[in-house]
């Protein structure tokens, strides 16, 4: 099954790419979408095989310049293959509609772009060919089994996604800046990952993961810790961990929406995969401070991400920051698992790790729905700015319903899928402190619970804003009022992802068996089986207490039906009369009187003023005849990323100064270059002579 799946990935990606190039333009969107979905189907097959079966290894000697290409699939690879494949199927089907002729694009600052654009940039040949290649590159990463293969696949993934981020560079200046940030950050990350993995490979004398796994325990602690911190930085930056997240809220919103979904739901998860693979599997866990470091970074990421999301007014930027938030929650789970395992509390460590993996899958499902939904809104209106949206529930009922499913999952409310994994995470945290754990854990865990709680609360505020302001109420602009429902392929694509959300929300115990096999690949939590006893009700091994999402959902449906029946019996049975809303006696209603996303988030922005630091401009133009009469008031607010503004300019200044200094070495004099060559040769020969 794994063979079939991976061959399907390779064949569909390569032959499909050729097909996309040669087919005529009018069927290109159809071909490209189908090819992407086919590559995704291959990933799903391989993933299911990996989760079900024993280990699988294939070696192609000499395929890569520096060595062999080695692939291996175990349960941990399997869950990520399944995740990426699933997202790719949804995004592929969706892209058939999204890149079809017609629709609007976003121009600068989230407002509709010029409609005179010659065609959709996301439908161009380059963009359409790159999407299946990007998916295939992502699918090779979790299957890679040596350092070379891993790094090659990682870099292919980065390059293909960079091309896709730049798709709409002619439409908006912000795309070009996003591409630059993304290229720099992903390559800086590649350097740290490469250094970390090379340190490990050099230490054990072999570059296959199997050899590193066997030999890593004997490495000196300093080498192990150095390698761990290096890969944490690299994988963290890919995952959107604060403070290395700066590229994410720029690049994810600027890509075409199906690519945003692939990046935010799937690619970001490979950072998580890398961290689990290297930290938990290859290194086999480490001292407690590794876990505390990850836990701390997770807390900062979750809080900072959700705070920025709660203040954001650009729909896709909001979703990108919400990705940082959810990655933070996953990191809290992983960090907690590492800390508990280091304390010898393996059972609870297993529960925390299970929560992290399950939340990774849940986030992939609901973030796919949400980014695809944002894409539908964008295509229908050309708008990303929530302050100009509204009223879509009547113009686009199907899209609104799908987004509602995703938003319910993202706000971690029952019966949504995000609630399940957050519940498991909270259970792991509150049952972790035993008499054996020291004061550090006894202080860190309650703070982590507080962070998870505040994140959940602000997440609810964020998605009430995104959904309530964006989709309900009256349209706040002509573009929103003229929205049309999306093509059927787009609804089917997001419908697939929404269906997965519903299954994960109501029957999470179905994920129990595969999840146990994933944990069995990690030495620190092997054999803990946290979800083994779960059926309809979730029962966590080693933890008293149970929760059944299905019972809650059915209970709500039953209680709602009883309420409706009772009211029908007791109340006056007349139809509701439609009347103008109460306007304090003012008869005329204007959408400009409505609350916008900015005004909705104003109390939170004010409460968290010290963190968010919004920049506000208020221009009051007085009347020409009297300064007591006001002609007009203009209000502008921008919530900049303060961490970026504080941390990165000094860093960039240092890099810039270094570059200018280095320029003096190369002043164009041939004599100088000859001298460099001579000195280098001399020093090289001396070194060889001394060491030999």
């Amino acid at each position: 099954m794994i063979d079939v799946g991976l061959w399907l990935v390779a064949a569909a990606a390569l032959l499909g790419a050729v097909a996309v190039v040669v087919v005529p333009q009018r069927v290109r969107h159809l071909t490209a979408g189908a090819v992407t979905a086919l590559v995704g189907a291959g990933g799903v097959l391989a993933g299911v095989g990996g989760l079900a079966g024993p280990g699988w290894v294939r070696v192609a000697p000499g395929l890569l310049p520096l060595g062999e290409a080695r692939l291996s699939v175990d349960a941990l690879s399997g869950v990520f293959l399944l995740l990426i494949g699933g997202v790719a199927i949804a995004a592929g089907v969706y892209a058939i509609g999204y890149t079809a002729p017609g629709g609007h694009h976003a121009g600068d600052a989230g407002h509709p772009g010029p409609d005179a654009q010659p065609g959709n940039p996301a439908a161009s040949r380059t963009a359409q060919v790159t999407v299946p290649l990007f998916v295939a590159a992502m699918l090779v990463v979790p299957a890679a089994a040596n350092v070379t293969t891993f790094l090659v696949a990682w870099e292919l993934m980065a390059l293909t996604s960079l091309v896709l981020v730049l798709t709409e560079h002619r439409l908006r200046a912000s795309v070009r800046s996003a591409g630059l940030w993304y290229a720099s950050m992903t390559h800086a990350g590649l350097v740290t990952i490469m250094t970390g993995l090379v340190v490990l490979a050099a230490g054990v004398g072999d570059e296959t993961f199997a050899a590193i796994r066997a030999g890593a325990a004997d490495l000196p602690p300093v080498v192990r810790s150095a390698a761990f911190v290096l890969v944490l930085l690299g994988f963290g930056s890919k995952a959107g961990m604060v403070p290395l997240h700066v590229w994410l809220p720029r690049a994810h919103p600027e890509a075409p929406s199906h690519v945003s979904a692939l990046m935010s739901a799937a690619m970001v998860k490979l950072g998580i995969y890398g961290l689990i693979r290297v930290g938990f599997d290859l290194l086999g866990g480490g001292p407690r401070w590794w876990g505390l470091l990850v836990l701390g970074l997770g807390c900062v990421s979750a809080l900072y991400g959700v705070l920025q999301a709660s203040a954001a007014v650009d729909l896709k930027r909001l979703l990108a920051y919400s990705t940082t938030e959810n990655v933070g929650l996953v990191l809290i789970g992983l960090g907690a698992a590492a800390v508990f395992a280091a304390d010898g509390n393996r059972v609870v460590a297993g529960v925390a790790a299970a929560a992290a993996v399950l939340h990774t899958v849940n986030h992939a499902a609901f973030k796919t729905v949400l980014f695809l939904g944002a894409g539908s809104v964008l295509r229908a209106t050309g708008l990303r700015d929530l302050d100009a949206l509204g009223g879509l529930v009547r113009r686009m009922p199907a899209t609104t319903a799908l987004v509602a499913v995703g938003a319910l999952g993202a706000s971690a409310l029952p019966p949504g899928n995000g609630f399940v994994s957050e519940w498991i995470l909270l259970q792991a945290l509150i049952h972790s402190v035993t008499s054996a754990s020291g004061p550090v854990v006894a202080v860190a865990v309650p703070l982590a619970v507080g962070v998870v709680a505040l994140t959940a609360g602000l997440g609810v505020a964020t998605f009430v804003k995104a959904f309530g302001v964006g989709f309900l109420a009256q349209p706040r602009s002509d573009a929103a009022a003229a929205a049309q429902e999306s093509p059927v392929a787009m609804r089917v694509g997001s419908g697939l992802a929404a269906a997965v959300c519903v299954v994960l929300a109501l029957a999470p115990a179905a994920a129990g068996g595969p999840l146990d096999r994933v944990l069995d690949t990690l030495p620190e939590v092997r054999g803990t089986g946290p979800l083994t006893d779960s059926t309809v009700t979730l029962r966590l091994t080693g933890i008293a207490g149970a929760m059944s999402p299905l019972v809650i959902a059915l209970g709500l449906v039953l209680a709602g039906s009883v309420a409706v029946l009772l009211v029908r019996r007791l109340a006056a049975r007349t139809a509701r009369r439609t009347v103008p809303a109460w306007g304090c006696g003012g008869a005329e209603r204007n959408p400009r009187q409505e609350y916008t996303a900015t005004s909705f988030a104003e109390p939170l922005t004010r409460v968290f003023d010290d963190v968010l630091g919004p920049e506000q401009d208020v221009d009051v133009t007085p009347h020409a005849e009297s300064r007591y009469l006001i002609e007009s008031v203009t209000f502008r607010q921008r919530v900049p990323d303060r961490l970026e503004a504080r941390l990165y300019p000094p860093l960039l200044a240092v890099v810039g100064a270094w570059g200018r200094t280095a320029r003096r070495l190369a002043n164009g004099s041939v004599h100088r270059y000859l001298a460099y060559g001579f000195v280098t040769l001399l020093v090289g020969l001396l070194l060889v002579g001394v060491t030999a």
Binding site: P414, A461, A544, S548, Q593
Partner: protein, 319 residues
């Protein structure tokens, strides 16, 4: 669960729902009457809210122009969440038929779902008041969440479970636990949360008539007739449920631990007396405080968060 026990559990659950649905309007009436008497007014009597509900049920319902299905569905969702909670929280007996819904985290999340449905409906009306109420409500909701979850954490430490039944039975088994610092601190935090979640003074003024200061009332402004009746009844039920939850978490005496008739009757009597006393105390407290400015509410909630954090720490270090 054996056959007779299941029947008993179902009866207990239905009795709880009936008690909350019927008792909630009278509880609101009681609170208003206590306030009225303490402020030197005669007051309309405890039956007034029930009479209001009957009146509203027979009035015509209206919906604002351009509102969607979310406006119509919100009262039903709000009512469904409160009915579900009334059935699963151990008010009169710890033996209840529905497993897997009485986890405290789930209970809090279901309460939140009800609030969220009403905020979406408020936004759906497309009026400034609706937006204002929704915005303030979710702000308070978000800031109260850490306190609630940490208070749950503190309570769960002593029994090793966040299951409501386990917590109540654990407290019944060893009553001195209530006097532990952790319990007392958690109780203080929980009271602040109840005030914030139910929109009582000093966070929100339930009897205000000025739109600009409203939170909950601003969200319900566009409802009328049977929809308003549902929202009003559900809000009264939420207050009843939260007060009942509070008293049973910290003073669980009287709650039946079997399905025998006598303990259950005793359980009904005990919960009625305890909740009525708590409501009267809350009403009396409200006479002496004024509504806080909305931007002072975060300070109140931060203070309660500190209490909850201390409660958790105390449960580790002082036992």
């Amino acid at each position: 669960m054996s056959g007779p026990e299941l029947v008993g559990a179902v009866v207990a659950s239905i009795a709880q729902v009936a008690l909350v649905v019927v008792g909630a309007p009278f509880l609101t009436g009681l609170m208003r009457q206590v306030r009225a008497r303490m402020e030197g007014r005669v007051g309309p009597g405890v039956r007034q809210p029930a009479r209001d509900l009957r009146k509203l049920l027979n009035k015509e319902a209206m919906r604002p122009e351009g509102s969607s299905v979310f406006f119509v569905a919100a009262p039903v969702v709000l009512m469904a969440t409160t009915l579900l909670l009334a059935a699963v929280i151990p008010f009169i007996s710890t033996v209840l038929p529905i497993p897997g819904a009485d986890d405290l985290f789930a209970v809090v999340a279901v309460l939140m779902l009800g609030t969220v449905s009403l905020t979406l409906a408020a936004l759906d009306t497309g009026t400034a008041f609706g937006g204002m109420g929704a915005s303030r409500e979710v702000t308070i909701l978000a800031l109260a969440e850490p306190t609630i979850l940490l208070a749950i954490f503190a309570l769960s430490v002593r029994v090793g479970s966040s299951d409501l039944t386990d917590i109540v039975e654990g407290t019944l088994a060893s009553p001195t636990q209530v006097l532990l610092p952790a319990s007392l601190l958690a109780a203080v935090a929980f009271v602040v949360v109840i005030i914030a979640e139910t929109g009582r003074l000093p966070v929100d003024n339930p009897s205000t008539h000025l739109e600009l200061t409203m939170i909950h009332e601003a969200m319900a402004l566009e409802y009328s007739g049977r929809d308003l009746a549902m929202v009003e009844l559900a809000s009264a039920m939420r207050l009843t449920i939260l007060l009942g939850l509070g008293v049973n978490l910290f003073l669980p005496w009287g709650v039946a631990t079997s399905v025998a008739v006598l303990p259950m009757l005793l359980g009904i009597g005990a919960v009625v007396v305890k909740v009525a006393a708590a409501a009267a105390l809350l009403a009396a407290f409200e006479v002496f405080v004024a509504k806080l400015r909305i931007f002072r509410v975060p300070e109140l909630l931060a203070g309660s968060f500190l209490f909850a954090l201390l409660a958790v720490s105390a449960s580790f270090f002082l036992r």
